[in-house]
Each structure stands twice: as structure tokens, then as C-alpha cells.
């Protein structure tokens, strides 16, 4: 039924309309997609490549999109799949080339984050906190990281996250809880146990 409805919807568009519709949809979900890619990779160049590949794949398989679901979630799923494949490839490459080449140093994403507020001291402190928090998230196991980025940083619900990640709701729940506990532990180790009580 869903497939039929999707095909009927799809057939009603001409090629030009289809392209316009796709570009419009991409523009709408661009900020979310960019953030997702940046938080997954922590590298602007890799993030751009990831987005580009995900968009290409989305355009190639546009017929499989079901209009009753949010477009951004569909593209996020594709982006996550592309990211997972790239990680596997990188892991394989690291097996054969274990040393790091010059200039391959990870770019620090957190310089891109603009901290609001006028007080320069406050800005510096918050920048440092964001840097550390970014590192903590980066060091999480990949599956936990995906859930934290989707739920906490991008504000997806558990249900949406389970659809994007492709695992049951209970798994999302437990992964998120474990991830938050790990983050709490790391923050407390870095800034002391009273730090979280004063946050907010």
C-alpha cells in the first residue's frame, strides 16, 4: 500500500518538478543535515564529503522515499549509512596504513561554534567546555555517539532515533542512558563533582 502510494505520488511529477522539489526539501533540512554530519565526523571537509555523498545517494534512490515520513529523517538515515560505510573503509585502511600521513591531523570542529554572549571571559570558558564536551562525545563508542547526537544534540525523539539508527526503541533508551552516564562521569572527572550542580 505504502509502496503504491509512494509510486503514485512520484509519477505525478515531471523530471524538472522532481528536481525542484528535491532541492527545496534539501534546503529545508540543510542546517540539520550539516550539524549531523559535523557532529559525526568532527571535520569540516569530511562532513562536506559526507553530505555530498548522502545527497547524491538520496537523489539516486528518491523513488524509495515515502512522503508520509519526514524527509529530513530519511536523508539523515542515508547520511548515517554512508558514514558507517566510510568508517568501515577507514578502519580497513588503517589496518593496511597504520601511520598517519602529514597534514592528516583532525580539524577541530569546535572552532566553528560561535558562543553567544558579550563577556569575553565567559566566552572563553564556554568555548573550553564545548571543546571538552566535543571530545567526550567523540570518544564515545560509535553506536552511543549516534544516539546522543540524534537525541540530545539534534532533538529527535526516541522513536525517530530508532528509525534512523535502525534499532529497537529499548536499545535507543539504554544506549542514551549509558552515553549520558559516561558523559556525566567524564565531565565530573574534568571539572569536579560540583560542576554539574551549578550548570544552568
Amino acid at each position: 500500500m505504502d509502496k503504491v502510494a509512494s509510486e503514485v505520488w512520484y509519477q505525478s511529477l515531471t523530471q524538472e518538478e522532481e528536481k525542484l522539489w528535491f532541492e527545496q526539501k534539501i534546503k529545508e533540512c540543510q542546517p540539520k543535515l550539516t550539524k549531523f554530519a559535523y557532529h559525526l565526523t568532527r571535520n569540516s571537509e569530511k562532513a562536506q564529503d559526507l553530505i555530498q555523498e548522502a545527497l547524491l545517494r538520496a537523489f539516486k534512490y528518491r523513488k524509495s522515499y515515502k512522503p508520509q515520513y519526514p524527509f529530513s529523517n530519511w536523508v539523515c538515515t542515508i547520511l548515517l549509512n554512508v558514514h558507517r560505510q566510510k568508517c568501515k573503509k577507514e578502519k580497513l585502511m588503517r589496518f593496511f596504513v597504520p601511520w598517519k600521513e602529514d597534514g592528516e591531523e583532525e580539524e577541530d570542529l569546535w572552532e566553528f561554534i560561535a558562543v553567544e554572549g558579550d563577556n569575553p571571559e565567559e566566552k572563553t570558558i564556554k568555548n573550553q567546555i564545548w571543546k571538552d564536551l566535543g571530545k567526550v562525545i567523540e570518544e564515545l563508542p560509535p553506536k552511543m555517539k549516534e544516539v546522543v547526537v540524534l537525541c540530545d544534540l539534534l532533538g529527535h525523539s526516541y522513536e525517530e532515533t530508532s528509525e534512523i539508527v535502525g534499532c529497537p526503541l529499548g536499545t535507543v533508551r539504554s544506549r542514551l542512558h549509558r552515553a549520558r552516564k559516561k558523559i556525566k562521569q567524564s565531565v565530573e572527572e574534568k571539572y569536579g563533582s560540583d560542576f554539574l550542580a551549578t550548570w544552568g
Binding site: P31, F59, D152
Partner: protein, 149 residues
């Protein structure tokens, strides 16, 4: 109703904060938090982590405009072409190598030492010394045994 123990409560705290529990569970947890200061403290800390992550997620990442679809397609086409050329070169080199190895072994004939004729004989000073004693010359000399200048 069985009272919840702290371990079970703490496992559900994240879902409680996200309001992802059933109403009954939510109420149960609330009741427990009212009477258990340890769990309440843990809940407050997790709430702080959640708020911190939320704020971090809202912090702006400098957004670069993505390329329009046509440019993305064009770039992908160029990438594909480069990939095809590189792949073809690899395949051609591999085939060339295979051909080289194959032709070397198929034309290989073992060398028969008797088929050679001695053209020149080189004697080194060391050999000279060992054969004819201490009066040997230190310069190597070339003795033509066949043919001539």
C-alpha cells in the same frame, strides 16, 4: 505495588527526564525521587548533562551552503571519471605485469655453460699473487685468448 529499588530507578532516569515512560512509570519514579535523596541528586546531575548537551547542540556551527544539485552531480561525474581512469590504469598495469611474468617463463631456456666460448680472461692481482708468489704484479692484465685487435 512493589516499591522500585534505586538501581532500577537510576536505569530509567534518562527516559524519565525525556518523558518517554508510561504515565504510571513516570508517577512511580516521581514518588521514589521524592523520598530518595541519592536518586534525586543523580536525577539532577543527569538533567544538567541533558541541558548541557541540548545547549551544545543549539550552538551554531558555521554552515557552508551545500552545492546545488547540478553541481553535486557534476562533481560526482568528475570523481567517477577519475576513479574509472585510476581503476583502468591499475587493471592495465596488473595485466601488463601478468603478461610480463607469463612471457618470461614461457620463453625461458636454461643456460648451457658449454655453449659459451671464452673471449677474454681476466686475472686479478689477488689471483696472480696466490698462483705465482710474492713477485706478482699488482696491475690486472688482460690476456686475449682468441680473436685479436
Amino acid at each position: 505495588m512493589i516499591a522500585l529499588d534505586c538501581k532500577r530507578v537510576q536505569e530509567k532516569l534518562s527516559s524519565f527526564l525525556d518523558q518517554e515512560l508510561t504515565l504510571a512509570e513516570q508517577k512511580e519514579l516521581e514518588q521514589h525521587l521524592n523520598i530518595c535523596p541519592d536518586c534525586e541528586r543523580e536525577c539532577e546531575k543527569l538533567q544538567a548533562v541533558r541541558d548541557m548537551l541540548e545547549e551544545f547542540g543549539q550552538a551554531g556551527v558555521s554552515l557552508e551552503e551545500s552545492l546545488p544539485l547540478e553541481q553535486i552531480e557534476q562533481k560526482a561525474r568528475v570523481d567517477n571519471r577519475i576513479r574509472t581512469v585510476v581503476l583502468s590504469l591499475v587493471v592495465i598495469s596488473f595485466l601488463g605485469l601478468l603478461w610480463g611474468v607469463f612471457s618470461y617463463f614461457s620463453h625461458y631456456e636454461p643456460i648451457d655453460p658449454d655453449s659459451f666460448t671464452v673471449v677474454a680472461e681476466i686475472t686479478t692481482p689477488f689471483q696472480e699473487q696466490s698462483e705465482s708468489g710474492p713477485q706478482a704484479t699488482f696491475l690486472p692484465f688482460l690476456e686475449l685468448t682468441s680473436g685479436g685487435w
